[in-house]
Symmetry: C2
């Protein structure tokens, strides 16, 4: 290896997106933002870079450098890449509080960055697509977020039977923690750390099961690799109560709410949480969201530290078969909740707010698995170069095709032989290639080669079919555009 040459590789945990991947994501984001607009949200675009203090520390992964954030010092100021779109929104809501309408309803699409350990399919830059209402205390705002989540999923083609919304409330969770003697209702602030540890343990029910959560709530847990995570140090009785809450039987929603109500009875926070959930469920049913679509699930916790009220996740229930042949569910693709304290960090005044965030990459991956229909080939028509001295003639064909709105290009590479040029057309998914050698030029004609038909026929056609439906034919030069238009229409 020559020394001094940089290696052409991505930074670990980052990746590139090519062609169709970019296109398909853009189409999905356009569909989602159309729904956001329909619901009356306005776009907001904040910069990637914020001051580290403005972002705050709310990420679940505290063991990483800068608590999971990419940060650096510049001219004496610590700046960082945003780790979500909500923290910057809180900064904007505080900064422009005198000029923005209230409630402020905004949507945002953009990449966020997390300084996490990269793993398979887990990247350090990913997309989010959020909608939030800042300045609305009413549960109607939270109910709207649920309804909006349903509408988004259906707008991008997911059937009503293939997703569920799961609701919970941080107040209800606090209620259980208070009843278990973990939080002191009169002195919550001082117990922020233990509350965070307990909530993070509860959040792992899905991944680790009840036994794993029990370890994390108690002395600690050793994982398969032998690494040890220190536990919350709760007593057996405290752990039992929390696990009973987490795993409460969910099939009958009303019965479960009564059951959980007993667990938190006497705690103001717990009762507030129950009332919130009641009100949201009522509002949703009046908007035609059925109990099958949306239900309360006490095991929903949400990782981020800033939630203060109702929290929500939308999960895809459809199953797929993973690379190892195991049946799996796609899981959570939208998450959100109420965060009444986030703007207060800046202004000292409480500003109620609620919102959702679409996990764009996970939703895209799910859509890809769920959709069976192949997309039509969408490459450009390729005008080949048979005679390098006549580049002006070939370029003119391209100019004419483009003027007619046909995606097309001149072969600009170095290859002189037609085979290499057709191979290029193949890699580009070109529907047609245009060929004009000296002989064709002298007769003022061009050859049109149907590359899709050629591929298809090479696999399946009989000799007769080859003769009746040729994949290459000749037209007068002046008929080029008309014939290409006609031919593209036929293959559509």
């Amino acid at each position: 290896m020559a020394s001094g040459r940089p290696r052409p590789i991505n930074v670990k945990g980052f990746r590139d997106y090519f062609g169709e991947e970019v296109q398909v994501r853009q189409e999905m984001l356009d569909q989602i933002t159309s729904v956001y607009r329909l619901y009356g949200f306005e776009p907001l675009e904040t910069p990637a870079v914020e001051s580290l203090v403005a972002l705050g520390k709310f990420l679940p992964d505290t063991n990483r450098p800068n608590e999971g954030v990419f940060a650096w010092e510049d001219d004496g100021e610590w700046m960082a890449l945003r780790y979500d779109l909500t923290a910057p929104l809180a900064r904007v809501a505080a900064q422009f509080r005198n000029s923005l309408p209230s409630p402020y309803r905004r949507y945002a699409v953009g990449t966020v960055w997390r300084n996490e350990k990269p793993g398979p399919g887990r990247f350090r830059q990913f997309y989010q697509c959020d909608a939030d209402t800042v300045g609305a205390a009413t549960m109607a705002a939270d109910a709207e977020m649920c309804r909006l989540s349903c509408e988004i999923l259906e707008a991008i083609g997911i059937r009503r039977s293939d997703y569920v919304l799961k609701l919970n409330s941080r107040n209800l969770l606090d209620g259980v923690l208070i009843k278990a003697g973990i939080l002191d209702p009169g002195d919550e602030g001082n117990l922020e750390e233990v509350r965070t540890t307990v909530l993070r343990a509860m959040d792992k029910l899905d991944r680790l099961g009840a036994a794993g959560v029990r370890d994390l709530l108690g002395a600690g847990r050793k994982d398969e690799s032998g690494a040890f995570t220190k536990g919350a140090g709760l007593s057996g009785g405290q752990i039992d109560l929390i696990l009973a809450f987490l795993t409460a039987e969910k099939s009958d929603c009303a019965a479960m709410l009564r059951h959980v109500g007993d667990m938190v009875s006497g705690s103001a926070a717990g009762c507030k949480g129950l009332a919130e959930l009641d009100e949201i469920m009522d509002l949703l049913s009046s908007q035609g969201v059925s109990a099958g679509q949306c239900s309360v699930d006490t095991s929903i916790v949400r990782g981020l530290g800033y939630y203060t009220g109702p929290i929500m996740e939308a999960e895809l229930t459809a199953e797929f078969t993973d690379a190892k042949g195991r049946r799996k569910q796609f899981g959570s693709v939208i998450g959100g909740g109420r965060y009444d304290g986030l703007v207060k960090r800046f202004t000292g005044q409480e500003v109620p707010a609620t919102g959702i965030s679409v996990g764009v990459d996970r939703l895209l991956a799910a859509l890809k698995e769920m959709q069976t229909e192949a997309r039509a080939s969408s490459g450009p028509v390729l005008v080949t170069v048979m005679d390098r001295d006549r580049i002006v003639d070939y370029q003119r064909m391209v100019t004419e095709l483009r003027a007619a709105g046909i995606r097309s290009e001149l072969f600009l590479g170095n290859a002189r032989n037609i085979g290499r040029q057709l191979k290029y057309a193949d890699m580009r998914n070109s529907p047609l290639a245009i060929i004009q050698g000296t002989e064709e030029r002298d007769r003022d004609v061009v050859q049109i080669k149907d590359l899709e038909l050629g591929k298809e026929m090479a696999e399946t056609a009989t000799h007769e079919e080859w003769k009746t439906r040729p994949s290459q034919w000749e037209v007068a030069r002046q008929e080029l555009v008309t014939e290409v238009v006609r031919s593209l229409r036929r293959t559509e």
Copy 2:
């Protein structure tokens, strides 16, 4: 001020974009990328973060930390935010050289970051929108970039008479530097530093005039603030030759090329540069690009260090009046050129490449100045809340409107009185407000208030008009959606 509260402000040099600003930019980017697709380019999205060595150091501003790049160390690795979209493309072209089609034609849209001193209207994060062809040595690829630039500008509504393309070649510039005895044709590498200094001085003709460039080529220049920039230390004769080249009379292109040809005669690089420009101009005229649209301009230098052949800028010639009442031109909005050495940095093998980059923000600013037509108000229909116990009824109206595709929302704020809610509708640019108090509910009707008509009539209408065309009227509740649709169609 309470201590410990973060201040809600942007990091210096960064800004937020609201509502319409985001929307208008997105529309313009959609128009540009449609043209890129028409020309056969495929999207590519690289991450914001690259390794610092992969990006290389090509920015003009060397006096800034990390030579103008935001960079930080993480886990022993130096990473940085991309400063353009070309350096990451070179990395991709090298990394995926065995699987990408060749030529590889890609477009990219994204933000880039420069660690420059922020100033009025000068931000440290901004958009670029590029198209590049990697693996094409032919001047037909460079000519296509010029043609593409014209097509983009016209696609977004700029008239042919309001822009010009200016062409030059780095080879031609090298020819002059060789003739002046600044570069040694047999030993160019060792003189990279002085070449960079001289080119940067030449690039400032626009801003500093001939006298300023003379100082920078000679002993140095003191600016208005008294700050001193060290010069290139050339002799008087060297400086005279360079200034004669830079300021060559441009009105007759053929005559100028002959004149410049004399200046570089005998230099291989200079002759190569002239031949490149000749070929591109020929190809462009065969594609219907007139001499008025595109011409050679010896004062085009381009700031970035990686160009190796033809370079190009598209300038808007239309004038506008700035805040101080001065007539100004918008200047360069697209720039690009050939960079045959950028992929070689990684692989050791030369890969010819050429491309353009659209300065999105500057082009947007220009479009805003040039367009006089106001955009229609596009806010949501607002369903007001007159009776907080009947939120379910109001929510149902919103649900019906949205189901009919009408952008609408429920007022989710705290205000009880109708005045505050209508003021909110005003701030949101709502076309209509829906009102239903107890009395209307009892009669099963709703009030529709036309907010635009109201505004307009308040300014101009006579008493008669007020009576014949009321800005508020009543319809049966079940007519709500039909009436809103009808009313919105009328105001379009």
